[in-house]
Amino acid sequence: MESGGVITSSGAEQVESEKRSNGLGHDVLTLLNRTRDWLLIVFLLYLLLVAVSMIGNGFNMAAGENAKDLFNFARNPITGLVIGTVATALIQSSSTVTSIIVGLVAGGLPVVIAIPMVMGANIGTTITNTIVSLGHIRKGVEFRRAYAAATIHDFFNLLSVLIFLPLEIEFGLLDKIGAYLSSLVYGGNSMSMKSFNFIKPLIQPVLKTIQETASGLLPHPLSGIVMILLGVTTIIAVITVIGRLLKVLMVGRVKKVFHWAVGRGPISGITSGTLLTILVQSSSTTTSLIVPLAGNGVFSLRQVYPFTLGANIGTCITALLAATAITGPTAGVALQIAFVHLSYNVLGVMVIYSIPFLRNIPLRLASTLAKATSRNKIYAIVYIGIVFFLAPAFLIIGSNILGW
C-alpha cells in the first residue's frame, strides 16, 4: 500500500509537472508568436513609409514640374470630395486613402485640391459599418438600432462637410490651420524636424534602390508610373495586413479601453473611440465593433455616438505617420495635409458635438432613416443612391455652372 501510495503520488507529480511544462511551452509559443507579429508590424510600418515616398518620387519622376497640371481635373472641390469618397468606399479604408493623398501631395498634388479629397475619405469610410449593419436586416428591432448606429457616422460626416467645405472654399480655413501646424514642425527655428529627421536615413537607401531599378528597367515616364502604382498597391496591402494583425494583438487592450469608457460620459466616449482606432489602425473596425453592440440594445444610440466621433480623430494617426516619410522640399506640404486631416476631424467634433442643435441633427436623421428602413428596405437603396450618387452628381454639375 505504502509503495502504491508513493507510486500514485509521484505519478500525480509527474502529471502536474507535464501540465506545467505544457503550460510553459504554450506561454513561450504565444510569446514567440506575438513577438513575430509585432516585428512584422514594425516591418510593415517601414514598408508603409517607403510606399508613401514611392508615390511622391514616382510623380516627380513621371511628371516633374508638370505634376500640378495632372490634377487640374480635380480642381473643382466637389469633384475632389467625390474622388475621396468613392476611392475610400472602394478600398474600404480611409487610412489608406489619406496615406495615398499624403504621397500624392508630396508628388505635386496641390493641398487645396487634396483637402476636399480628405473630407471625402471621411464620408467613404462610413460605408463599411453601414454594410455591417445591413447584415442584421432580418432581426427587426436589432436592425433598426444597428442601422441607426451606423448611419449616425454618415450623417455626422456629411454635416461636417456641409459646414467646413464652404469655409474652406471661401476662406481656406483648414489650409491655413494645416500650414500653421506644419510650420511649427518644419519651421525655420532650431527645434524643427529638419534637424532630427531619423526617418530619412532609414528609408532613403531602399527608396534609392527601387528608383534606380525602375529607371534602369523602364523608360521615362513609365518608371515613375510603375513607382506610383507599386506605392499605392503596397499601401493598400500593408494597411490591410496591419489592421488584421492589430485586431488580434490588441483585443485585450480594446476591451480595457471600452471597460474604462463605460458610464463615464461623452468625452470619455470620444477619447476611447480615438484610442481604439489608434490601437487597431482602422476607423471602420472601431465603428463596425460598435454596430452590433448598439444592435443588441446594450448601448443606446446616444452612447455610441461619441465613440464614432473618436474613430474620426483616431484614424488621422496613419496619415501623420505617413507624412513623416516625406523628406525634401515637399515634406512641409505632406505634413500640412496630414494636419489638415487631423484639424478637420477635431474641429468637426468640437463644433458639431458642442452645439446641441448641431449635435442632435445626426441623431435625429439616423433614427428617422433607421425607422423607415426597418419598415421597407428600399429606403436603404434610396439613401445610398441620394448620398453617394445623386447628390454628388447634382453638386458637381451645379458647382461647374457656378464656375468653382
Binding site: Q92, T128, N129, I131, V132, L134, G135, I137, R138, K247, V248, V251, V254, K255, F258, H259, V262, G263, S282, S284, T285, S288, L289, V291, P292, L293, N296, V298, F299, N376, K377, I378, A380, I381
Partner: protein
Amino acid sequence: MTDKTQEKLEAKIARLEQYLVKLKAELEKTRLQGQHEAIDHIDQYLHEDDNLISDLEEFWEGLVSDMREFFDRRNKRS
C-alpha cells in the same frame, strides 16, 4: 385637508422619491453590468468588417422579399 394628512402625504412622496432614486441607481447598475459583459465578449464582433459580402447578400435577400411583397400587394389591389 388637515395638516396631519398633508404631512402624511408629503412623507409618502419623500419615501417614493427615495425609492425611485434607488430604483434608478439599480437600473443604471444593471445597465452598466450588461455593457461590461457585452464588452467581455467583444471578440466575436472583431471580424464583423471582414464579412461584408455576406452582409450584402443578407440585405439583398431582405430587399427582394420586401419588393416582392410590395408588388404582390399592388397587384392584388389592381
